[in-house]
């Protein structure tokens, strides 16, 4: 059946007027791989508060390798391990740290984000977040070696959702191996940093 030019033109204009941008708030949700409810913790810690933090050197999204010990004597360090790119909770954790930059830096601290994903995956994922101010490190190869050294590599090959705070002497001052299904709140982290920076 032939369509009248009027109908075709009208449909074109209507579709233009009714054009609704992709549901970007919901769109991110659509891109997230559902993992369901997971075992809260599935590893055994190999370090404890008061230990010297195991050193590591990992490739970063920013292009250079980042070595933990280079911050010794200079900065307090927050290690934020997240289990995997494009998964729930993780995708809503680092964007929050993105707007807490001043609050973290005011305690003379640097945040390092770490995941067992490879750099290309981390690139696409963090780009979707709109970019991040802190270094994002890939613990992809040897797979999860740093997570394993800290004792937070889960049996399925991803890391725990964990936060370590390391002082300027390289000593671990705080460990939170969090329930993987939940996001740690900012309050606790800032409270730990506050204590570290208070003489």
């Amino acid at each position: 059946m032939r369509k009248s030019p009027a109908i075709l033109l009208a449909l074109t204009l209507i579709s233009g007027l009714l054009w609704i941008p992709s549901a970007r708030g919901a769109g991110l949700k659509d891109n997230i791989y559902p993992v369901g409810k997971l075992k809260p913790v599935d590893s055994r810690l190999k370090v404890k508060v008061g230990d010297e933090a195991p050193d590591f050197s990992l490739p970063s999204l920013q292009g250079d390798r980042v070595t933990l010990s280079r911050y010794r004597g200079k900065k307090n360090v927050v290690l934020s391990f997240v289990p995997a790119a494009w998964t729930p909770v993780c995708s809503g954790q680092w964007p929050g740290y993105n707007i807490a930059k001043e609050m973290i830096e005011k305690h003379d601290a640097i945040l390092l984000g770490i995941s067992v994903d490879n750099l290309p995956s981390l690139y696409a994922w963090t780009k979707e977040m709109g970019g991040l101010w802190f270094p994002v490190l890939s613990d992809f190869w040897p797979h999860g070696a740093v997570a394993e050294r800290y004792g937070i590599l889960r049996s399925d090959g991803v890391s725990e959702r964990a936060v370590f705070v390391i002082d300027k002497k390289g000593i671990i001052r705080y460990i939170d191996v969090h329930d993987i299904n939940e996001r740690p709140d900012l309050d606790t982290l800032l409270s730990v940093l506050e204590k570290l920076s208070t003489p």
């Binding site: 033109l9 609704i20 970007r24 919901a26 949700k29 707007i99 996001r183």
Partner: protein, 207 residues
């Protein structure tokens, strides 16, 4: 049937197209479509928020006699826009400056006393809400909802953020939800117009 001349058919086509397109122009173009569910009511009198963090916020909401918490229906407004947001949500972050512009537009349009905006921080602590608000200099009150009790009462626990609920306040502590929107928006003016249109506010509603 004899075909009409091409020029005549083109003129008719353009006229019909403009007419049909004009009909379609009332739909919101820059926000995601309202959710399919029918408008519903909320028991505004039964939904309690923590007392605002500043006297300025309390004044904006028309609240006096401070208590630990207050019911939603105590807010002095004919229409209330509730933004469910999350400090950790990147789309809420992107939306914040635009929603600030909507707020400014409301103030300058003369609806400032009848149309109010509040934010509810989904699973956010007071510190997280304050961080978000400070970062984006949000001028309207925002409240933490760490345990989701407020958002559940609004039946918005499953919605992605940002999520907007526009409520027309009614007698007896009830509120009628006139539209809900999910996702960010690009054009503050279009968003504002949509709120005004759906809530039925008219210039004579201005005090």
């Amino acid at each position: 049937m004899a075909r009409q001349p091409l020029a005549s058919r083109c003129r008719r086509s353009i006229l019909l197209a403009v007419l049909l397109a004009g009909c379609a122009g009332t739909a919101p173009r820059t926000v995601n479509p309202p959710q399919a569910e029918a408008p519903k009511a909320i028991e505004a009198g039964a939904i309690r928020l923590p007392w605002p963090s500043s006297a300025q916020d309390a004044a904006y909401l028309g609240l006096t006699e401070p208590t630990d918490s207050f019911p939603l229906d105590r807010i002095r407004a004919d229409v209330l826009v509730i933004e469910v947001f999350d400090m950790y949500c990147r789309f809420c972050q992107a939306t914040a400056p635009r929603l600030n512009q909507v707020y400014e537009r409301i103030q300058h349009s003369g609806f400032g006393d009848t149309l109010k905006i509040i934010g509810i921080g989904r699973m956010n602590t007071a510190l997280e809400v304050a961080t978000f608000r400070g970062k984006y200099k949000v001028p309207f009150p925002m409240f933490p909802d760490k345990d989701l009790s407020i958002i559940r009462a609004l039946n918005a626990q499953d919605a992605s953020t940002p999520h907007f609920i526009v409520v027309k306040m009614e007698e007896g502590g009830r509120g009628r939800v006139v539209t809900t929107l999910t996702g960010t928006f690009e054009d503050p003016k279009a968003f504002y117009n949509h709120i005004i249109q759906r809530s039925g506010l008219k210039k004579e509603d201005n005090p």
